[in-house]
Amino acid sequence: MCNETISRRGVYPARVLLNEAICREHYRLRLKLAVFPPSRAGQFVQLQCRPLTPPPDEIVTDWPDDRPPSFTQPELIGAEPLLRRPLSLAGRQDEPDGARLEILYRAIGAGTHWLAGVKSGETLSVLGPLGNSLPIIENKPIAALVGGGVGIPPMLYLAGALRQAGKNVTAFCGSRTKDLLPLSAGPAPADPHGKPSLCAAEFAAADTPTVLATDDGSLGVRGFVTEAFAGWLDARKDAPEALVVYSCGPEAMMRRVGEVCIARGVECYLSLERHMACGMGTCQSCVVKIRDETPRGWSYKLCCTDGPTFAAKDVIWE
C-alpha cells in the first residue's frame, strides 16, 4: 500500500484484538488495521455497529455461478443500527504491520450494545480518521486535561502526545461514581484532597499525574471534577499564558471548564459531541453555534469537520 493511499481518509477493515468490559457500561476496544491514515488526538472514527457483510440476499455481487439468485425472500433488517457510531480515539500505536487503535466506549444504545457483543478476531468497518484535532501549542509548557466519563478517551490520546512534545501535563477525570469511571487503578492511590498522583494506570502509562473526582466521593475527591480542577488552577503560580486546558465530557462540565479558564485568561479547547449521521460534512446535522464576525455574531459550524475541537471562548451554549 503506497503512502498516498493511506494518507486519505476512508473506510478500512479492522480486526478486533480485544473488546472487554472495564467498568459498569464501559468497554475497551482494541483494533488492528493493516492500513490507517495518520491520526491525531481529538480525532474520531465512525464505526459500523452491525455485521460487516450484509445478508446474502441483499447483495447481488458475489453469487456462486451455480446458484441463481432468488428474490423471493426480501431482506430482513435486524435490530442493528443503520448509521455508524462516532467514537473518539483513545490512542494509537503504529507497528510494522499496521496501526493499533484504542477506543473506550459506553454501551448506551442499540449500536454500542451490539458493539459490546463483538468478539476478538471479528472484523469491523472503520471510517476515518475524522475531525480536526486537539492542538498542541508550542509556547504553552503546562497543560491540564479535564475529562468526564466517556469524554476521558480523547484526553488519554492527548496526554501521550503532549508528553511526547515535552509538556508538563496533569489530568482531571470525573464520573458520578467509582463504577462509572473508565480507568484502571494506577500505581499510586487517588488523593481525596485533589493532589495529582499516578492513580490512573492509563494516564500513568503516559507519565501523567491525575486527579480523580466522583460526585459521591466513592473514589478520589468528592464532588465535581471541575471544582477540583479550578482549585488546582487557582493554586498555580504560573502566568496564565503558560497554560492550556483541554476538556471533553458532559456539556455542563465543559461549559464550566470553559468559564473557569476564560475568567482566568487561560486558553481552553473543548472537544464537543453531537448527534451526527455521516461524520464527513455532508448531512449537516451536527451543528454547533460558534461566535464569529458575521452581523448575527455566530454561525453554525459542523462538529464533524470544523470540530469536534473548538476554542472555549468561541462556543455559544444553548
Binding site: 476512508g10 455481487t61 458475489d62 451543528v287
Partner: protein, 319 residues
Amino acid sequence: MESATHDPHTDVDLSVSLAGVALSNPLMTASGTCGYADEYADFVDLRELGAFVTKSITVSPRAGNEYPRVVETRAGMLNAIGLANVGLEAFLSEKVPKLEKLGLPVFVNIAGSTVEEYLAVAEAMERVDIVRGCELNISCPNVKAGGIQFGVDPDAVESVTARVKNACRTKKLIVKLSPNVSDITATAAAAVAGGADALSLINTFTAMAVDIETARPILANRTGGLSGPAIRPIAVYMVHRVYTQVARQAGVPIIGMGGIQYARDAVEFLLAGATGLAVGTALFVDPGCIVEIKRGLTNYLIQHGYTSIREIIGTLRME
C-alpha cells in the same frame, strides 16, 4: 469491503438517457446527501456516478434549523436540516468550480419560499455549463416555507412547474415529488402537465420521533423527513404507480429513490419503472456503496441474460 477482482463486464451497457441527458449509468446522488461533492472526495471516486445532484440551493444563504437535526429510527433516520446552504452567490463562486472538476452531468436542486426565488436560481443556472438541469424541490417537509406549499396541491404543482420551466430555456427541469399526499399520481400528472422533463420520487416522509423521558419530540424542528431502508417499499410502490399511470404514457423518465442501499434495491426501482436511481441515506454510512451497487447491477444483468440496463426498466410483471 474490497471484493475479488472480476471480469470488468464491459459488454454490459449501464448507460441511460435521462430526458436527453446521457448518463454512463443510472446512479445519482439524492439531493442533500452528498453536499457539493468535495466532502466525499477522500471516500469515493464520484465519477462512478451517472450524474450528481447538489444539495438544495436558495437565493440567500440559510443557516438551517436548530440542533438536534437528525435522529436515527429503526432502519432509517429523520432529518430536519432546514435547507442549510451557502446561497446562490457562494454556490456560483465557490462550489461550481469544484463541480466542474467532477466531469459529470450536474443537476442543481433549487428551493425557495416564493416562485420568484425559484426563478432567480433557475435563471442563474442558465449560465452554468456544467449544470444540465434543475431539480425543483417542492417537497421539503422541514421548512415552513420551503416549497412544500407548492408540492401538495396539483394546481400549484402545475403552475410552479410551468413558470420555472419557462426559465429553464436550455436546461432540463426535474420535479421532485413529495410522498406526503393522498395521491402521488395527481401531483405527478400536474408536474408533467406543467412541462417537467423528469420526475424525482420520493422525497422524505414527514415523521416524528419522541423522547419518552421528556415527552417531547427529539428534533428541534419537532418533525423531520424519514429516509432510509424503512421507506423503500413505499417508494417502490409510488414509483410503480407513477410510472404505469402517468410517466410511461407521457414519456417522462423517473428518478427513483428512497432507501436504496444495495444493488437488489436498485433493481427493484428499475423494474418498477425508474430510469435514474438516486442513493441518499446509504451514502452517510459508506460513500463507496455506489461502486458496490454498480457492480451488483452489472452482475444481475449478466445473470439474467441482458446486455443493457434499459431492457429491464419498467418490466415488473403484474400478471
